[in-house]
């Protein structure tokens, strides 16, 4: 065995120290550089069709020289006289998406000229991709499926949030944006749910930027002060990255590809590579984009019946007591079950009235360039999004700068720095399950009540439909439900984030076969939060704030320090076997700290400052540190340039693991066999089979193991009221809920993946098919323990989940001529998740998926044998469940369910069904049956037209909004029902089999029905499930590029691109609420589709102008 290159270096190894120095200098000016005149290499790089290729890199590696092609495809490399070679040297032209070409150039005659024609490289063969933790691979050698998204796809999505921009870009990468609000969070899920409690991974992939893990968490304000489902929703923090800075996103989908990140890769890894400078003339690009945003679909509200109950308008009695004069109490004053409005009564569009046309401006300037030793990339961007809700508190702004520089100190040593600063300031709206939220009050408002003006014209006081006549004395009285315009104008939820991320890196190549890479990265964010609840607020979640207002202020600090060192040895065993061995070490430290203070009872209406409150609660103070110490080893072997093997193992030690399970191994292995490489015309131009196996994991949350005492507020289980253990200046403690335990290790995802990548019709098409089989074992479960133990749960590595699926992508390039090009991309994916084992637990709720942290009545759970994350909740009484109703065993009683089909709806004697108070049931699966997308681009000359269709087929969504509005009588459904004839359950309403003494009895669907069984508060959850599938036109664009010589001559730019586009233009779905792409708790929740007064999505129409030089 000999190590490749070792022999060559052995020759120089015999040199003395002086000679070594000389050798180094020679490396700077290679032997044979004898010419005395500078030389120039010029040329043009084009496609096979003859179209110029801009941005292609032309390099003479031997000289360390290079240039980037201009808009017309031309390039110029200037070689200083001392370095002009006399011998022929290799010149290579490269551009992502095209196959590299190399030519030999002789500078014997001085300057030279070389054109390149680069064939398309749709399979991106030969391109080097990062595979994580400092390792790289050529695409061809990957044993796993590659999902890569380039900068143009991200930019064209025109999304402020990178995660949202990834929607419909890769098979089985499902993105759910929580709403269309500026800065709204988005949840990304790859290949199904692999964890239940989410652990430190937040249930989302690990995000790594230029090799450094970064935070993508979502931090709500102090959760003990406000429920997650009822406060303003902040962004997921990847929003701090300017999408314009991104060169490429690689998605490591499963354990087989992400194992190199060990216990942090259980939900996959998103590798983000930012743009870098390239040798050549400095390039400038200024992109200016402006968009108009509108809300998308909204629930339909009735405008026929007015305020009241039982058809009667409530009496509001003049009184010296302001509350009594304002219909504040009583259902009749809250609901729209009053009389039919007289003809001509003005009514108002409460569904849409608080929305406006928002706008967004996005300006980004990038500069990049460098020479053979030093490159730089510099960017600055300003993004501002004025939201679609009226008022000043609905916006998000990001200012970001980035410097990415690299300098080759010596031939063997390159150092670099990549530093970005991002300032993200947002104003958010209190929404969702909030009586002081935007839509809850708005959509419950009776149609005849005009929410404008929201301030009483005489006294300037907040007026709402449940408090229509504010008078002096009511300045600090709750309005029960806030007027939506008041929310939009007066309630403050601000976040000011300053975030720095980046680091330094170095690449040392002491020997040609040995390379060391080092990176020291930092991610530090400080998030200053201020939430202001004004006087008259209807807030019900913060104790003592109702009416009198409150301020919650504080900061959230998040930092991560990452040290990653790898050594890579390149070896060769003869001509046909070669490869690399990489050893690495990683140290990572994450700290999180949050301090927040709540003050209630504003002394004066403004400002929202803690000093302006009369009562301060005990402050919230939390900190955590998570440390990780890892080693990894990866070996690759290329056999005959057709079989590519990779094996790796990582050992993780984490502070979150129990002392006895402190270190854990994560192996992986893959094989790829390229069985076909054909030049020229061929049906099967390329073929690769691949298979891989790997394990990755998820760390437990810190500090779960011991028994500790909490100084907390004891709540009344979600009803709002709470008692503090800190009273009268004294503090008490109570035991925390978790049973103490001593062992807890990582969750483990074991994945087998296999697939085939084909190039067809001479690469006019490519097809990739992948199958994976994933098993998540040791999944951490908060095992419920009998509450009579004094504890309610114990964390344990107990559960097992399974995800299996297929991923198919097909790209067609039927036309690729210089004048006209058309390509089409299809993606299709299916994931079937199943809960295999829950250690005997009947069901395990996903955190923040409904239930006590979201809504009562429904939650996403794991249940053995069911899809992961199914909705679980209450149902009507049905036959075949062994129920006893009013002491009658209905299944075995004639006239009841005896003889009726299983699950027949049980109808009571009064003709109505009733709720099953005994059990909870699996109600539906929010996971789609399959997902897919269709992408197409036409280019005709300088005109390009593109579109992206996103399909999510199946998956149930929970329309709790409708359930609540039914109760209050503001839905269209409640209107038509009360106007319509009596209905017979099973036939006219809730069609299906029925049984029971009242079966086939016609009954009215009236207020009594909707406030009881037909509403969300007392009726079963099951009736509010709807199809959450959709087909969405995500993107459509029209672009024109001006790159004629006159552009350069007269304007000074190499090219100008004009682009008109739209995003989220239309969604075809059967959901009756807001867009079914919604999530009550945004990226905090792994279970999608739960809708309870969620804000709508937005669509945008945008125009951009890009100036390149």
């Amino acid at each position: 065995m000999s190590i490749a290159g070792f022999g060559r270096m052995a020759g120089s190894g015999g040199l003395g120290a002086r000679s070594r120095l000389c050798a180094a200098l020679v490396a700077l000016a290679p032997t044979g550089l004898l010419a005395q005149q500078p030389a120039t290499l010029t040329g043009r790089v084009t496609t096979v069709a003859g179209a110029p290729l801009s941005g292609a890199q032309v390099t003479i590696e031997q000289l360390g020289a290079g240039a980037t092609t201009r808009g017309d495809g031309t390039y110029t490399i200037l070689i200083p006289a001392p370095r002009v070679p006399t011998a022929p040297v290799a010149v290579t032209a490269r551009l992502i998406g095209y196959k590299a070409k190399t030519a030999e150039i002789n500078f014997a005659g001085g300057s030279a000229q070389q054109d390149f024609t680069l064939p398309d490289n749709p399979l991106q063969l030969g391109e080097v991709v990062v595979t994580g933790a400092g390792t790289v691979s050529e695409v061809e050698k990957l044993g796993t499926v590659r999902s890569s998204i380039d900068s143009s796809a991200i930019q064209n999505s025109a999304e402020q949030n990178l995660v949202t921009a990834l929607a419909a870009k890769a098979p089985n990468v499902t993105v759910t944006s929580s709403s269309g609000d500026p800065g709204a969070s988005s949840f990304i899920q790859i290949r199904g749910l692999t964890t239940i409690t989410a652990g430190t991974g937040d249930g989302q992939p690990l995000f790594v930027v230029d090799g450094v893990p970064v935070d993508n968490g979502i931090n709500y304000n102090n959760p003990t002060n406000s429920s997650l489902n009822s406060s303003a929703a902040p962004p997921n923090r990847i929003i701090d990255i300017n999408p314009d800075d991104i060169e490429n996103v690689e998605i490591l989908k499963g354990a087989s590809s992400g194992a190199i990140y060990g216990s942090r890769a259980g939900q996959g890894v998103i590798l983000i590579t930012t743009k870098k400078g390239r040798a050549g003339p400095t390039k400038y690009s200024l992109r200016s984009q402006w968009s108009l945003d509108q809300h998308t679909q909204l629930p339909a509200l009735q405008r026929t019946f007015g305020i009241g109950t039982g058809g009667v308008t409530p009496a509001c009695v003049p009184s010296s007591d302001p509350a009594l004069a304002n219909c504040a109490v009583g259902f009749g004053a809250a609901a729209s079950w009053g009389p039919e409005l007289a003809s001509g009564t003005p009514t108002f569009d409460h569904a849409a009235e608080m929305f406006q046309t928002g706008w967004q401006t996005d300006n980004a300037l990038t500069m990049s360039g460098g020479n053979d030793r030093t490159t730089f990339f510099l960017s600055g961007a300003y993004n501002y999004n004025r939201g679609i809700v009226v008022g000043p508190n609905n916006h998000y702004q990001r200012i970001s700068v980035r410097f990415n520089g690299s300098h080759r100190l010596f031939d063997q040593l390159r150092v670099g720095a990549n530093v970005a600063y991002s300032s993200g300031d947002g104003g958010f709206l209190t929404t969702r399950n909030s009586t002081d939220g935007l839509t809850l009050g708005a959509w419950r408002t009776p149609p005849e009540f005009n929410n404008l003006p929201f301030l009483d014209p005489v006294f300037g006081l907040h007026r709402s439909y449940r408090f229509p006549n504010p008078a002096p004395g009511s300045e600090k009285t709750s309005r029960r439900y806030d007027n939506p315009f008041f929310v939009a104008n007066e309630a403050l939820a601000a976040s000011e984030v300053g975030r720095t991320f980046g680091g330094i890196n170095a690449e040392w190549t002491p020997l040609s076969w040995l390379k060391f890479d080092y990176s020291l990265g930092l991610d530090y964010a400080n998030d200053e939060r201020t939430q202001g609840y004004p006087w008259t607020t209807s807030n019900t979640t913060i104790a003592g704030a109702g009416g009198v207002g409150a301020v919650n202020a504080g900061y959230i600090r998040n930092s991560q320090l990452d040290h990653n060192l790898t050594g890579t040895l390149t070896y060769g065993l003869g001509q046909n076997i070669k490869g690399t061995i990489t050893a690495g070490q990683n140290l990572n430290s994450q700290t999180f700290q949050s301090r927040q203070q709540l003050g209630v009872d504003l002394i004066a209406p403004q400002p929202f400052n803690l000093t302006n409150t009369s009562t301060l609660s005990p402050p919230y103070d939390y900190r955590q540190t998570i440390r990780l110490s890892s080693y990894f080893l990866q070996a690759t072997a290329d056999l005959n340039n057709s079989i590519f093997l990779t094996a790796a193992i990582r050992n993780d030690g984490a502070s979150t693991f129990g002392a006895s399970t402190r270190r854990n191994w994560f192996p992986k292995g893959s094989a790829a066999w390229v069985f076909r490489r054909a030049e020229g015309n061929s049906f099967l131009s390329y073929g690769k089979l691949r298979a891989a196996y790997g394990q990755s994991g998820t760390q437990p949350l810190p500090y779960l193991l011991p028994s500790v005492f909490n100084a907390v507020t004891i709540t009344d289980a979600g009803w709002g009221p709470a008692a503090s253990t800190q009273l009268a200046g004294v503090g008490g403690l109570v035991t925390r809920y978790n049973l103490p335990t001593s062992t807890l290790g990582p969750e483990r995802v074991k994945e087998f993946e296999a697939g085939v990548d084909l190039g067809l019709w001479s690469d006019k098409a490519d097809l990739s098919v992948t199958y994976y089989d994933q098993k998540s074992t040791d999944v951490i479960l908060n095992l419920p323990v009998a509450t009579s133990t004094g504890y309610s749960e114990v964390p344990a590595n107990a559960a097992e989940l399974q995800n299996r699926g297929w991923e198919v992508s097909l790209n067609l390039r039927p036309v690729t001529s210089q004048k006209f090009a058309w390509d089409l991309g299809f993606q299709w994916a299916r994931n079937r998740g199943k809960t295999v084992d829950l250690a005997g637990v009947q069901f395990a709720p996903f955190p923040f998926s409904g239930g006590t942290n979201g809504l009562t009545g429904i939650q996403g759970v794991a249940i053995v044998g069911q899809p992961i994350g199914v909705y679980y909740g209450t149902d009507f009484v049905r036959c075949g469940r062994g129920l006893v109703i009013n002491d009658i065993d209905i299944d075995h009683t004639a006239g009841y369910c005896q003889g009726a089909p299983t699950n027949a709806l049980f109808i009571q004697a009064d003709g109505y069904p009733t709720i099953d108070n005994v059990g909870q049931y699996v109600l539906g699966d929010p996971n789609p049956d399959w997902t897919g997308s269709v992408r197409t681009n036409f280019r005709f000359g300088k005109v390009a037209v593109g579109g992206l269709l996103d399909v999510r087929h199946g998956g149930i969504a929970y329309n709790g909004t409708k359930g609540a509005l039914n109760h209050f009588g503001t839905t269209i459904e409640s209107q038509t029902a009360r106007q319509g004839p009596d209905v017979t359950f099973g036939r006219d309403f809730m069609p299906g089999p029925v049984a029971g003494p009242g079966a086939n009895t016609a009954v009215p669907l009236d207020e009594s029905w909707f406030t009881n069984m037909g509403g969300v508060f007392n009726g079963p959850t099951s009736q509010f499930l709807e199809d959450g599938g959709f087909v969405k036109l995500r993107e459509i664009s029209f672009a024109y590029t001006l790159d004629k010589p006159w552009v350069s001559r007269s304007l000074g730019f190499s090219s100008v691109e004009l682009r008109v586009a739209a995003r989220n233009i239309v969604s075809w779905n059967d959901y009756t609420g807001v867009d079914p792409e919604t999530s009550l708790l945004g990226s905090a929740s792994p279970v999608r589709g739960i809708d309870y007064f969620n804000n709508p999505q937005s669509r945008s129409f945008l125009f951009s102008l890009t100036l390149n030089r």
């Binding site: 259902f331 003592g544 440390r627 979150t656 009344d716 253990t725 009998a786 207020e1007």
Partner: protein, 546 residues
Amino acid sequence: MRNALKVALGLALVMGAGACSDYLSGPGIDTDPNNVDKLTRPGALYFGIQAAQVVQREGQLARNAVQYVQQVSGNSRQSIGFDRYTTKPQDMDTYFGAVYGSTRTLTGGGGLLDVRKMNQIARKLNDSLYIGLGKVYEALIMGYAADLWGDVPYREAADSTNLTPHFDPQLQVYADVLVQLDSAINIYLPASSASNLGPGQDNAELIYKGREGDLPLLYTAVAHSLKARYYMHLAERDPSNYDRALAEVGPPGLNNGGPSISNPNDDFQWYADGTPNGNNIWWQFSLTRADVAPGSALVNIIKRRITGGLEDDARAIFYFSCADCNGSPNDFFGFRPGGATNVQVAPGGDAGNGSPSGNYSFFGSFIDGSLITNSSGNFRQQELSWTEAQLIGAEATWHINCAGCDPNTVVPAAQPYLDAVRANRFYGTLDGARVQFPALGSAPASLVNIIEEKYISLFLNPEVWNDYKRTCLPALAPAVPAGSHAPGTAPIAARLPYGLTELNTNPNIPTSTNSVGTPITSTSRNPNDPAPCPVLNYVNSTPLAN
């Protein structure tokens, strides 16, 4: 060689940087920097127990109890369902758990587990005062659990080494807590001395703050009051407990010398103050949810008694308020149970409460945070009071002297107890001052009058549900069922379902049909309450008895 050096240097870099052995452990790294993990004094737990129990006594459990006996009515959202006895195991999950410990939702804590932990520390310190107090609170917590759920885990509960505690029979739980109270009364509280620093040392007394020096005496009286209460809970099964209860109460009258609480100044009242999470829980619920309103039964009983000369206006206008009553309780209208809209007979002029104008009453400002701005929410509710003790004395005397009599029978022996309470009407503490109503004259000492007096006096105290279960007084018609306009046929609920987690995890949960977490039906009764109450009916949408 030099190459080898480079390789060695590189490998040293790779491997050496992680050589720090303590990188993964240490304070704040693998130990929790945010929470206390060791206690050496019992004070913090004692304080936590007192603070946490407020939620159990003024929160959802209390709402359930007083909604069932129609002092209060749910008039919106889920509370309407609770009126109709549709409380489900999931509704009870955290509250059942809070008897023992806490849950992720931050409900509970300060239950049996913390009492036992506190006692463990107290025993190490040989602080008999804390031990005695721990026993009183243990009896308070577990007796309440037995009231609500019947058979509950007790002897094997709150022990992390036993994950499936057995359920103890309800009567045994009562017997056990009575033993605990005797132990506190006879051994630990009297034994406290200067060496027993107790809560005074720790500044940990919340209920009798400022009277730390009197804690042994005060809690001895509390323990006797609790004993009297629990003996009453056992009396339906064994009438000899009336005698035991009476013995705990002592003679009638103010400053009767005990042994139960002998003066309203010594009443055990839950702490509340003007801070947001220190507010009375009823007040907070009213402020934030307003889903409950005065119950028509209580309102109507008070009105009837005013008309009959048995009651004045004072309590009514303190308990309630209304839009158009002009200060006259005659215009008060409460909500019928089961949701106002459900029992409406004819549209117009009746918001479900019989009010001719469609109006309704509100709670008084002492627990209605929404009515008066700048209200402080500091109302302290009485849990165990001289009033309750005297009315126990009245009822026990009535039964001892007239077992099996018609409830309207007047028993003169009970008169002094009833008269003492009517002459000294105290109700909680508002803004730091005891709430006192003017003295009332004598009322005939019938069981009906005694229980109605207690029903009114103990407004919002869950104990009134126990009184109803024992005496079926006041006469109440059950709520109408959901989605129906027909009168209710199911009797008023007599127990609560177990919590869902306990149902799912503890195989020892009783399986008898009247104990499991099945819907509350006519057969769902606790062992101490074998006799069901009659199912009364509505007539013209007005409860018969009211």
